[in-house]
Amino acid sequence: MSGIMDMVHLDTGLVDCAAYSPEVYVEELDRVFGRTWIFVGHVAQVPRPGDFVTGWIGETPVALVHGGDGAIRGFVNRCATSQRPFLAYDAGHLDRLTCPAHRRGYDTLGRRLGSEPADDAACLTPVPRLSVYGGLVFGSLAGSGETLEEHLGEARWYLDNYVLREDIGGLQLLPGVQRYRMPGNWKLLAENFAGDDYHVAITHASVLSLRAQQVEPRIINSPGRQATDPIFSVATGYRHGVPHGLLEVRVGDDFYNHDLMRAQTISPRAVDWVNTRKDAVDRRLAHLPAKPYSFHVGNLFPTFSIIGNGTSLEAVGLLVWHPRGPNETAVTQLGFVDAGAPLELQEQMAFALSHQQAAAGVFAPDDHENFERLAKSVQTAVARTVPFNYEMGLADEGRDVRPPEWQDPAWPGLVLPRFTELIQRDFYRYWMTLMTTGAGNGA
């Protein structure tokens, strides 16, 4: 698309408001959502043959179906004749898939049943590529291109060690899928999770104040100002790959000690679990001179965000920012607790996630306010002359801040000061590449 090169200025960190315009949005559905890997669900949502869950890749409705042969497939949720979504429910269990328009039937492998007329044997349209990483299911509308592993790149190391934790039992899906509208262009929400740790103390000041007042211990999952250990932001894929951002990467024992202290108020089994998590990381990464205890929040390009895994006391929230027009986003959010944790700790984890970054939590509505206000002004005549400014940390562009004694060997990713906008700049660098090279694919 022409003009994109004039919208993103990597040397100054400025992004023109035109990047959020209706014209660009239409192109994005092809060039971004038609080509990259989009999170479509978790295998635990479809545990048995016949189970299905519906969702989207961009604006394209899709369905994950656990086939009678045991394989999980992705289909475009659109009947081959009527074009109507054949699955009308968010999730469920069916032995055969029947489109309500003409009762056209398919088996759970997507094959046409009882073809009438015989010359029309059209099957369901598969999502061209579906790939699973540690139970996380991603789909791509492009039949070829980089693999999911290549797409995730070095962010896999963060998923493996700090989110999935498969060697100690992995994640357990909580019942209850939250879906909600957020105003604002999808890019603004995604890069907020990828790179903006700076807004937290201001936008969410009310919650930090409550923590200081000790009003509700169950949401105090951080040592707060007592902590002196360093906290970093991390970019993976910087400059040459797919940009993913990880925030609140914590090195040192402050958060571990705080987790222990809080677990002691819950149960001895909860204390044991905090240690099990810590021991597993120490064991896996024994060869590193320094390593994080956790990271708390992040976004994997383009729209897959993670939150809550910074402590042993909060459930992991996985969010997808579905584009719904240049100024509107639909969020799907799943919650997971540690499968191996005792029930009383799992309850604490679920409580903490529900009450913090969730549809009715005390964090998300404050973000909502920012984006609602912003969405209103982004297309005004004045806004078009005032670009978004992502210049923080520009002077130190590309510098890894780890001391030499942490470098041999160093853990993956470019380690940055906590407050920087390098991650946002790299987000738009890659977005610009997708928008200006190759062909789109139609999401």
Binding site: L210, V337, S354, A358, D367
Partner: protein, 183 residues
């Protein structure tokens, strides 16, 4: 047939007064009408294939009335999952002057209807079901409606009805906005 007209009037007055307090932003006063051992929950709404199985329907009723006795089944990714302390936290958050989701305060209008109320003498509780329609204006023309059903239980303390259980089922598979208000 209304089982107990006197109780109906009492409960209607209570629900209308509650809506008034919440619309006026009198949250601390609202909290005074809540029992110390309150449970206030709201599940996410999901559109699932209907079931006619008696077991499934019974489970749904038990869920709505807070009568699930298996602790594991209460472990959910709730929208609201409140007790007295967490409700207090939410209200004190609004007092900080930094809860930007409610700055300026939303203009809300709560309409309560379809009220039914009856006493369960053996448990000493009043059960109430109702529907709620909430109009919320954030600022300028940002406005939304929330529609939902509620299952309440009340306990009489010193002649006053105190809210002991509230289960809110919103009718929105995709919420029109994040939630910063009470139902």
């Amino acid at each position: 047939m209304v089982r107990d007209p006197q109780l109906m009037l009492e409960v209607a007055e209570l629900l209308f007064r509650e809506a008034e307090l919440l619309d006026d932003g009198s949250f601390h006063e609202w909290l005074e009408g809540v029992a110390d051992d309150i449970r206030y929950v709201m599940p996410a709404t999901e559109v699932l294939p209907p079931s006619k199985e008696p077991q499934v329907l019974k489970r749904r009723e038990q869920q709505r009335w807070g009568e699930i006795d298996v602790q594991e089944e209460r472990l959910r990714f709730w929208l609201y999952d409140e007790d007295h302390n967490s409700l207090t936290m939410r209200i004190r958050r609004l007092d900080t002057g930094m809860a930007y989701a409610e700055l300026p305060e939303s203009i809300t209008s709560r309409m309560v209807t379809n009220v039914r109320a009856w006493e369960e003498p053996e448990e000493g509780l009043i059960r109430v079901t109702s529907k709620i329609l909430v109009h919320q204006v954030r600022h300028e023309d940002h406005e939304d409606f929330f529609v939902g059903r509620r299952w309440d239980k009340y306990r009489r303390v010193d002649g006053q009805l105190r809210l002991l259980w509230r289960y809110v089922e919103l009718g929105h598979p995709v919420l029109p906005r994040t939630i910063s208000i009470l139902f």
